[in-house]
């Protein structure tokens, strides 16, 4: 066999792993790899900041279900990837990051652009490697893709010393990966399935508590089938929007801090939570000791460490949630033949909550633009096949609330880490992964100013994303907390972004079309204008009212029982039979 450089071995390995696109920026330590990349069939998108490369890889992974790949140099290149790696870990996104490292003999000497990126990412990466011998490159890449994409997906970092890229080696891509300490279990335990089916038939108030794992496992069809079979209500978390159609009559909406009254109360009053790929996050449970106190729990998850972590599970089903549902559906059918519980009183209660407390908002009295209205119209005009990404803040919550999601992989956001700046680069990656689909990023004026430079990348690389800036001239979500909990003392939350920057001009400067809209009557025409431009990225500056707040709300650290539908306004519980 002829010898190749470690760099060539890396690129051959990436090709063998099935990579078709990667996002990155070169630099000294990774430079040897960029020479064979020049000749590779893998598309390399040259970004403007490594954070953009990381979130683009995430966006690509979220829409395609494949592993997203990003690549950077040592030191600052690698540390710029830390945020997207942590983000991918929190949201269980399959991702492989390749970084160059200083030459092996220089490691530990505080060499130029040396940073211990393996050490830095150890607490959150699913796994990571430091490669100093070129012979180890193919195996490390094969293992990295295997680990990232199987079990509970997550980010894997492969850090490669520069001399390992330069030396000659044999290229042998392993045909199989066998890791003694990593054998994720896909098939559920038969007894656990039987116990789950049994528990379900004993429940008169069950709720399907659906998390992002259902989307990761492509189990949305099975979810639809089991929900229809049992006829029980469903809630979809922030990470699971789209896993179950919003139009379905059994859907109560999103639970959690800004969830619907029906979804939050449904979980609270349930006698059984059928938990599918969800993790009892504090943003869903509120004060944990008061969460769903009368409910038994069936917890289906691929990660054994999620079981009993926050909430005790009466029945734990460890496995891929698609396999789990495929086993549970026939078991439940059989169990229901023997014992069909009457869920109609429970459904009546839930439907009453749903109709009494729909999501809503007030139009500003001064005729200015309401952010919720803009987002609602974006959803309606763009339709259910559109992919939406968002930043973090009020606009994120409104995008989760006021857009109807009918399909999985159409809603991408930073749920676990809450990373401002996610929307634009994630939209870029999503559009690369789904070039024929309309991709809208719904972004805040604050978030947009963190990562908008990737619009240059989009403009130059024919990645025509659409960006709706919900410009409330402030760090709106933080301002909302200041309104509610700090007596309206607005310390450092005013961005003045209706004065500076001029977003449409900024967009034009980056090679995009810049539009602006500040009157309700212009919203539809502006969205339609943006929808008609498909050969360039478009940025719309929606100049909205700044005092709008996100409701309902369960204040941090309080009980879900204390959900508020407006300032100092609880639902009228006396009018509900619960």
């Amino acid at each position: 066999m002829s010898q190749v450089t470690g760099a060539q071995s890396l690129v051959n390995s990436l090709e063998a792993a099935g990579v078709d696109v990667m996002f990155g920026i070169p630099g000294g330590a990774i430079l040897p790899a960029y020479d064979p990349i020049f000749d590779s069939k893998i598309r390399h998108v040259l970004v403007r900041h490594e954070q953009g490369a990381g979130h683009a890889a995430t966006g690509y992974a979220q829409v395609t279900g494949r592993v997203g790949v990003c690549i950077a140099t040592s030191g600052p290149g690698a540390t710029n990837l830390v945020t997207p790696l942590a983000d991918a870990a929190m949201d269980s996104v399959p991702m492989v990051a390749i970084t160059g490292q200083v030459p092996s003999l220089a490691i530990g000497t505080d060499a130029f652009q040396e940073a211990d990126i393996r050490g830095i990412t150890m607490p959150f990466a699913k796994h990571n490697y430091l490669i100093t011998d070129p012979a180890d490159i193919p195996r490390a890449i094969a293992e990295a893709f295997h680990i990232a994409s199987t079990g509970r997906p997550g980010p894997v970092l492969v850090d490669i010393a520069k001399d390992a890229l330069q030396k000659m080696t044999d290229f042998n891509y392993p045909t199989s990966v066998n890791l003694k300490g990593y054998q994720p279990k896909l098939a559920p335990n038969a007894q656990a399935i039987a116990d789950a089916a049994e528990l379900i038939t004993q429940s008169s108030k069950p709720v399907f508590y659906v998390g992002g794992g259902v989307i990761k496992a492509d189990a949305h069809r099975e979810l639809l089938e089991i929900a229809n079979l049992l006829g029980a209500p469903v809630v979809t978390t922030l990470m699971a929007r789209g896993a179950f159609p919003d139009s379905h009559p059994l859907h109560l909406g999103m639970p959690g801090m800004h969830g619907t009254v029906a979804a939050v109360t449904g979980l609270q009053k349930a006698d059984l939570l059928i938990t599918l790929g969800a993790r009892f996050d504090d943003r869903v449970t509120g004060k944990l000791s008061t969460f769903a106190t009368n409910a038994k729990v069936i917890h289906c998850d691929i990660d054994p460490a999620e079981i009993h972590k926050n909430r005790f599970a009466d029945v734990a089903v460890i496995g891929d949630v698609k396999h789990t549902l495929q086993a549970l559906i026939p078991a439940l059918k059989a169990a229901l033949k023997k014992n069909q519980p009457d869920l109609s009183p429970w459904l009546r209660q839930m439907n009453s909550l749903k109709s009494s407390y729909p999501l809503g908002y007030d139009q500003p009295s001064d005729g200015s633009l309401s952010p919720q209205y803009v987002i609602e119209r974006l959803g309606k005009i763009s339709g259910p096949d559109t992919i939406f990404t968002s930043g973090v803040g009020q606009h994120q919550m409104w995008a989760a609330q006021f857009i109807n999601y009918e399909n999985p992989r159409t809603w991408l956001n930073s749920g676990g880490l809450g990373t401002m700046g996610y929307a634009v680069p994630a939209a870029m990656g999503a559009k690369v992964g789904a070039p024929d689909t309309t991709v809208w990023a719904i972004d805040g004026d604050g978030c947009f100013q963190m990562t908008n430079q990737e619009l240059v990348t989009c403009a130059l690389n024919n990645i025509p994303v659409k960006i709706a800036i919900i410009n409330n001239e402030s760090l709106g979500m933080v301002r909302q907390w200041q309104t509610l909990f700090y007596e309206g003392r607005y310390s450092n939350t005013s961005l003045e972004s209706k004065r500076v920057p001029n977003f449409p001009m900024l967009a034009e400067a980056m090679g995009c079309v810049g539009l602006s809209c500040e009157r309700p009557e212009d919203v539809d025409a502006t969205i339609e204008k943006a929808m008609s431009i498909n050969d360039q990225p478009v940025v719309v500056d929606f100049r909205v009212h700044r005092d709008a707040m996100v409701w309902p709300m369960v204040a941090a650290g309080t009980s879900n029982d204390d959900i508020m539908i407006a300032r100092e306004t609880a639902p009228d519980w006396d009018s509900q039979e619960l």
Binding site: R118, G119, M122, P123, K126, H127, L130, I147, L179, K180, G181, Y182, Q183, K185, N189, Q191, A192, D195, D303, P304, A305, I307, H308, K309, F312, V315, A316, V317, I318
Partner: protein, 94 residues
């Protein structure tokens, strides 16, 4: 808090001690004692870890340790009985 002794077989790869120690610090588990030694297999080392935890928390510690790719097997050494085996296949569910 009760003390528990875990016998952990790990791949003898660079950084594995940092991974285990880092896990304990990040998840705020208390390590009372930790020793590392060789096994008959040069590719595998053994860590003996004494932790102080209550109730379900021990299961969490074991499950989180199990998630480390370089951790091959975990045994809990009970003072006066046979060791309870936790291999990396999570068969302790339910």
């Amino acid at each position: 808090m009760a003390q528990h002794t875990l016998e952990v077989l790990v791949e003898n790869s660079p950084g594995v001690l940092a991974r285990v120690a880092g896990l304990f610090s990040r998840r705020a588990y208390n390590i009372e004692r930790l020793t590392v030694g060789p096994t008959a297999n040069p590719e595998v080392s053994q860590m003996d870890i004494v932790v102080s935890v209550e109730g379900h928390a021990l299961e969490q510690v074991i499950a989180q340790l199990d998630k480390l790719i370089n951790v091959i097997a975990i045994k809990e050494i009970k003072p006066e009985s046979a060791p309870e085996v936790h291999d990396t296949q999570p068969d302790y569910q339910n």
